[in-house]
């Protein structure tokens, strides 16, 4: 049983894909299905890089799979800690590896317009850099709202405040982001 088999079980989200996978791997695969998106959102709000955030998620789960020490009591906290440390290490090394165009994999096998792809990439990069200029809490609410589609009540649990406060923060964050985009000369179509 190789790691790629485990990841196949994770990615397809199908029980049949997990047939033959050891129980521990199945637990990790189930945990991945339920929590990876939220972990990605947390790492993304830290680094504002979708690829790096995805790498942080994968790195954390790979380390969990290979973990041999004492049993992990709180998987989410453990994965969060590992992912955060990995992001810090990467930032410290100032890795400047080539980053793929976001969403490029989705075009595999399809005829794509290079110009449209480049424009999409440029637009994504502009918004990404504008989001990086927001304060941490504003960025978090936007990420939770738009990447995970959480309600204000759900976000209030995470941010330890009321749903009304979350709605105000969302409105303020959108307004602030709009100001930054205009300052950066963003052209909305």
């Amino acid at each position: 049983m190789t790691l790629s088999d485990v990841w196949k079980g994770c990615m397809t989200s199908s029980d049949s894909a997990l047939a033959g996978v050891p129980a521990r791997s199945e637990e990790i695969a189930c945990f991945y299905r339920e929590n990876s998106r939220e972990l990605w959102a947390i790492f993304y709000s830290m680094c504002s890089d979708p690829e790096r955030a995805h790498d942080a998620v994968q790195e954390a789960f790979v380390r969990l799979y290979h973990h041999q020490g004492e049993p992990v009591r709180d998987l989410r906290a453990w994965l969060l800690r590992v992912g955060q440390n990995w992001l810090r290490d990467v930032a410290r090394r100032k890795s400047s590896g080539c980053s793929l165009l976001s969403g490029l994999d989705e075009f595999t096998g399809r005829v794509v317009d290079p110009r449209a792809t480049a424009e999409l990439h440029e637009r994504q990069q502009q918004i990404r850099s504008a989001m990086a200029e927001l304060n941490e809490d504003d960025r978090r609410v936007l990420v939770m709202k738009y990447s995970m589609d959480w309600s204000a009540a759900q976000m209030g649990v995470v941010m330890d405040c009321t749903a009304a406060a979350i709605d105000m923060r969302l409105s303020r964050a959108r307004r602030r982001l709009a100001e930054i985009l205009v300052e950066q000369g963003y052209q909305h179509e």
Partner: protein, 142 residues
């Protein structure tokens, strides 16, 4: 905050809240890696991330402990109330019994003529002053 459109469909000036909402939805539709599964868990588990990630392992146990503590305190309060009520009832019963005894003592007549009204008033034709049972003098008092 409203936007102003010019003829080319591009917005000069501030984007409206609705426009920002659409922009962000489109942005994250492309930003989130397609390989990530759709979140199955609806209720967020982390109280506040990532600062309290270190305490996340402790918090569930703490919540259970605090719930048990509240339940234990409630039971103790109920027991205390029951004990106080019981004592009060006993005290009331004791007071009632004493009152009854005192009343019985009061009605314990020593005058052959029945209830005698004031104890200080003479009750007999010979002017004998009736005292309480335990104060009966051997010699009459005038």
């Amino acid at each position: 905050m409203s936007s102003s459109d010019n003829g080319g469909g591009r917005v000069a000036g501030q984007l409206s809240d609705q426009q920002m909402d659409l922009l962000l939805r489109d942005f994250f539709a492309c930003e989130v890696p397609g390989a990530l599964p759709v979140a199955g868990r609806v209720v967020p588990q982390l109280r506040r991330y990532p600062e309290v990630a270190e305490r996340a392992a402790v918090r569930p146990a703490a919540v259970v402990r605090s719930a048990r503590l509240v339940a234990a305190l409630a039971l103790a309060a109920l027991a205390l109330c029951a004990m106080l009520l019981n004592r009060h009832a006993e005290r009331m019963a004791t007071v009632a019994a004493k009152a009854k005894a005192a009343a019985a003592e009061e009605t314990m007549l020593v005058s052959p003529q029945g209830s005698a009204g004031s104890r200080q008033a003479p009750v007999g034709a010979d002017g004998l002053l009736l005292q309480e049972t335990d104060q009966i003098q051997l010699a009459p008092q005038r």
